[in-house]
């Protein structure tokens, strides 16, 4: 009998495993991927400040250090925001494996190529284990608590808690990892435009002098991300001249934060609970935080020998207090930004000062955005929405 079985060895699962193992609990983490972290489904951007939670990220995980962001208005003008503390573009394949190794060092067991098909319950109706397949061989494993850290891509979150992403609350994304392109390598490049990427944005996240993740996310519709990508590349010969090393797709949750993430003997965390920043779609830091908070609660509950829903709901309370309230505000901000037309977005980038972007990156305060919008008469009505 394990204390905890975790499904998914992404940042949420391995962060959770590490903390639990450090507290002396027996933990197993299973991932269906043949190689942890691969293929990536990610632009690989993360802020330097995230290291406060993630731990010091080793150089081998970092493809490029970033000083700030270049924000392009639909009309092509741009604004550079140089951050006092910058960011990284990671090599997710290396990063995810590093996180997994950290969990193993702390005492957890991690196993790739292990598909979990079902979560089992005991006679009391408590979740009590998993059924799976390791390299084709079926097995069953028991645990006092089962953690679902599968990301959004698994039906297990739906089977266990009825959680799925509403189609209008995901951004449908395509990304090419490209080389032999010309870019400013120490800035991430963000293109805002309802023509280029309705509701979402186009990103160019450098991974070296002439290499980058070039991607975009849009509101789901008949015209697919690939068609938008072609149009973007046509406008950017300095990028389209390059070669494509990797094609990634994915749907990232931009809303639908799950209210209740626990059941008897069961916890949902990370992107599986839609724990993603709804404006930029960043989910690595949120996954780690959510996994760690889940671990804290599970450790407390195991010590008290009570893993009932009501005991585990301490995780709900803490996560909503420390992350949920803030992420819900970010989601509201996205809903507001979604209403801006391209001329509005031009005005917005015009009205923004580099310091404003820095303020946002520190934690979007709606009142600050409102002040920015107030600088342009046409945007005042939108500003009022925020106040």
């Amino acid at each position: 009998m394990n204390d905890v079985v975790i499904i998914g060895a992404g940042p949420a699962g391995t962060a959770c495993a590490k903390l639990l193992a450090e507290n002396g609990f027996s933990v197993k983490v299973y991932d269906k991927r043949a190689e942890i972290g691969a293929p990536k489904r990610c632009g690989e951007g993360i802020s330097e400040a995230s290291q406060d939670f993630v731990g010091k990220i080793p150089d081998k995980c970092i493809a490029q250090k970033i000083k700030g962001a270049r924000l392009y208005a639909p009309d092509g003008r741009y604004l550079d925001a140089i951050l006092s503390s910058g960011g990284f573009v990671l090599e997710r394949k290396v990063f995810d494996k590093w996180l997994a190794e950290e969990a193993v060092k702390a005492g957890a067991v991690v196993q790739a190529n292990t598909f979990i098909s079902d979560i089992t319950k005991d006679e009391r109706g408590y979740f009590s284990g998993v059924k799976g397949e390791f390299s084709g061989n079926k097995f069953e494993e028991k645990a006092r608590v089962v953690v679902c850290a599968t990301g959004a891509e698994s039906p297990l979150r739906n089977k266990a808690l009825g959680v799925f992403s509403k189609v209008n609350l995901i951004d449908s994304c395509i990304q090419y990892e490209m080389t032999n392109i010309d870019i400013v390598p120490d800035l991430i490049h963000i293109y805002l435009s309802n023509v280029l990427a309705p509701r979402g944005y186009v990103w160019v996240f450098p991974k070296g002098e002439h290499k980058a993740n070039v991607g975009l996310g849009i509101v789901p519709q008949d015209k697919k991300p690939g068609a938008y990508m072609e149009e973007f590349l046509k406008l950017h010969p300095e990028i389209s001249k390059g070669s494509i090393l990797e094609v990634n797709a994915g749907c990232v949750p931009v809303g639908g934060l799950v209210k209740d993430m626990v059941a008897n003997g069961f916890v949902l965390c990370g992107e599986a609970a839609n724990h993603v920043n709804a404006i930029h779609g960043g989910g690595i830091k949120e996954a780690v935080l959510s996994g760690q908070m889940a671990a804290d609660t599970i450790a407390e509950c195991l010590k008290k020998k009570d893993v009932s829903k009501s005991a585990l709901s301490a995780f709900n309370n803490r996560w909503w207090k420390e992350r949920g309230k803030y992420l819900r505000k970010v989601e509201k901000l996205r809903e507001t930004l979604e209403k801006l037309s391209d001329p509005d977005l031009n005005d917005l980038v015009d009205a923004l000062k580099p310091e404003d972007i820095i303020e946002f990156s520190r934690g979007a305060k709606l009142s600050i955005l409102a002040k920015v919008l107030m600088r342009k008469p046409k945007l005042v009505s939108i500003a009022r929405h925020l106040l």
């Binding site: 293929p39 891509e153 039906p155 799925f164 995901i170 697919k224 991300p225 994915g250 749907c251």
Partner: protein, 58 residues
């Protein structure tokens, strides 16, 4: 009435799985579709980043 996937187009991203309201999809080497659970609602087709899924309701 039919649910179809073009495995040459599919990039195995699992986006369709994340939006399926009835847990009828699963990402293994390919997308696995459970006919018994599927209601042909079509949200998977809408979410798919690459036009790999076609749902016909008739």
């Amino acid at each position: 009435m039919a649910w179809n996937i073009n495995n040459n187009k599919c990039l195995r991203c699992g986006g369709c799985v994340s939006v399926c309201p009835t847990a009828a999809l699963e990402l293994r080497d390919n997308i696995i579709h459970d006919e018994k659970l599927c209601t042909l609602c079509g949200v998977c087709e809408k979410a798919c980043p690459v036009e790999a899924i076609k749902v016909t309701k008739k």
